[in-house]
Amino acid sequence: MKNMSMRDALRAALHEEMLRDETVFVMGEEVGRWQGTHRVTRGLYDEFGARRVRDTPISEMAIAGAAVGAAMAGLRPVAELMTINFAFLSLDAMVNHAAKIHYMFNGQFKVPLVYRAATGWGNQATATHSHSPEPIFAHFPGMFLGVPSNAYDAKGMLKTAIRDDNPVLFTEVIALYPKPSPIPDEEYLIPIGQGDIKRPGTDVTIVTYGRGVEWSLDAAGILAKEGVEAEVVDVRWLRPLDLPLILSSFKKTNRCVVVEESLPMYSFGSEIAAQLQEAAFDYMDAPIKRVHAMDLPLPYARTIELMALPNAQKVVDAVREVL
């Protein structure tokens, strides 16, 4: 057991899977000689060489599409899109090809690839570089989507994503890259679609993922001093969604707040609220509250950027409204 940052845990996952399976390779902008924009691929080029750590042109459509072709043909690409902001350029290849080819040709081809992309806001990155658009990508059947909330989950989830025969979009919250958690020496995998109770509680269920887990745990700490025990459910995967886990918590607490870094319209929060009212209407003691970024593009100036974004205090306020 040793402490590792999420960045190092992700690198360890890539390293282990590349050693394990020669068909696993990394491709993307600046993943090789530059050592990775976020240093997740640091050292891999030196160890594995240009064949398996492939620097690409700035070509998001081709990165996404070539990964599909290589995966169909039998390789296991881990294609990095640097940041999710650039994945809008890749949307067609992801949605129309990565996600649909297995179905559209009735199982003749598999597409065992992973798209990795950094995600999230912060540091005054401004409107075009401050997206958390995971719900858009999770909308389409055929492609899984995982967002780890800590280093331990990141390692186990990425290894599973690489080994699975389905396409996976794996987004990594930039603010979490430096944060450490204890990582066992022995190998472990975290199943795709399995959520996790990050804090048990009896009074309210907070459903969240990614950066929202940190805010929710901070909020739960504040609430505990007031005698309120919040249960924090980290879904970890937006697709497939661990609805049974969410439901079992909600049927116990009868109250729910959904926390996400993303925007409110047609969102993760909307989806969870809809699912809960359909599946557990009789268990509902209060309206479901949503905590999210404000419904506008993010500005540059620090003061108003922070105003627009969720935080632990906003989670505390939302919980108080449903008690």
Partner: protein, 345 residues
């Protein structure tokens, strides 16, 4: 080196001619089943149907240049390429009719034909979208140090979206064994090449990517297409990508329901001119020049291809419709690594 036409045997050429006739008859039958078939149970009902009539020499000549282990991928005008690659006509016709026995189980339709056993990687319906897939397939070939090449058909219209640029550039940077074969029929859907393309001589774009500028081959002549593509594939295997064109013409609308020739007198005239260079006419003239007394062969070919198409239709008509189990199959690959059932219906 490319195999020269002299080395192609009479038997081979007659087989190719038969396959070309089959493609034309298959397309004409599709047209009939779409518009004219009175029995509703025998119709092709899908809205999209893009016929290959006029392009047969490109499809057949290029595919014949492939080895069995080479790869081929294309856009949505894919029936002829599937037939040329040896996919059974009845399985293709069943896909047209949305039957469970179709190559894609009735879930892909006319635009999404594929047959994995012959490395036919499919038809794709987003213009340009399959180009990076070809790059990726070629990457696997290079990665595994295999001796094969990838043939990627694309329309002239596909040369103007971003996929073209990105996929060709990436394949160039990595020296991948791809032949980019533009089926240049002078029109992207309804917009003429001179109205859409700054440099209508598309092979010149090879310069921009530092790749081999291939020929602009006569796309109505199956032998010329075959020889040029074979040479290009050899180059691709040894040295990396080639961009080439086959100059051809679409005898039908973009989709079968388009009435472009009814609306425009200038196009009607152009069509008439191109019909004098119908790939079947050109091929037959070549055969007649080279061999005597082929009437019996032609008669047999006519009868055999008619029967193949008719059998394909009957197979398709008599095949079962897909059901609920088919509807929900293959959304995801079954996996022990997935918690619970990812299919929430």
């Amino acid at each position: 080196m490319a195999t020269k036409t002299e080395t192609l045997s009479k038997e081979t050429l007659l087989t190719w001619y038969e396959e070309m006739v089959l493609i034309r008859k298959f397309e004409e039958m599709c047209r009939y089943l779409y518009f004219d078939e009175p029995d509703k149970k025998r119709r092709i009902t899908g809205v999209y149907l893009h016929l290959a009539s006029g392009h047969e020499a490109v499809h057949l000549g290029a595919v014949k240049a492939l080895t069995a282990d080479d790869h081929v991928i294309t856009a949505y005008r894919d029936h002829g390429i599937g037939l040329a690659r040896g996919v059974r006509a009845d399985l293709l016709m069943a896909e047209m009719m949305g039957k469970r026995t179709g190559v894609s189980g009735g879930k892909g339709g006319s635009m999404h034909l594929a047959w994995r056993p012959v490395n036919f990687w499919g038809g794709y319906a987003i213009v340009g979208g399959h180009l990076p897939l070809a790059t990726g397939i070629a990457l696997k070939v290079r990665y595994m140090n295999e001796p094969n090449a990838v043939l990627c058909f694309l329309g002239d219209g596909a040369s103007n979206n971003g996929y073209f640029h990105e996929a060709l550039n990436m394949a160039a940077v990595w020296d991948l064994p791809v032949v980019w074969l533009v089926e240049n029929n002078l029109v992207g859907m309804g917009t003429r090449i001179e109205d859409s393309t700054g440099q209508p001589e598309l092979v010149k774009r090879a310069i921009a990517y530092g790749i081999k500028e291939g020929p602009r081959v006569d796309g109505q002549d199956v032998i010329k297409v075959y020889e040029a593509v074979k040479e290009a594939l050899d180059h691709a295997r040894a040295h990396g990508p080639v961009l080439m064109e086959a100059l051809t013409y679409r005898f039908e609308g973009h989709g079968v329901s388009d009435k472009q020739f009814d609306a425009r007198d200038d196009l009607k005239h152009e069509l008439e001119q191109w019909r004098t260079r119908d790939p079947l006419v050109v091929f037959k003239a070549l055969l007649d020049k080279r061999y005597k007394d082929l009437d019996d062969d032609y008669a047999r070919i006519e009868a055999d291809t008619d029967k193949t198409v008719q059998d394909a239709v009957e197979f398709a008509v008599n095949s079962p419709e897909p059901g609920y189990e088919d509807l929900i199959a293959n959304v995801y690959v079954d996996s022990d690594l997935v918690h619970g059932d990812p299919l929430k219906l």
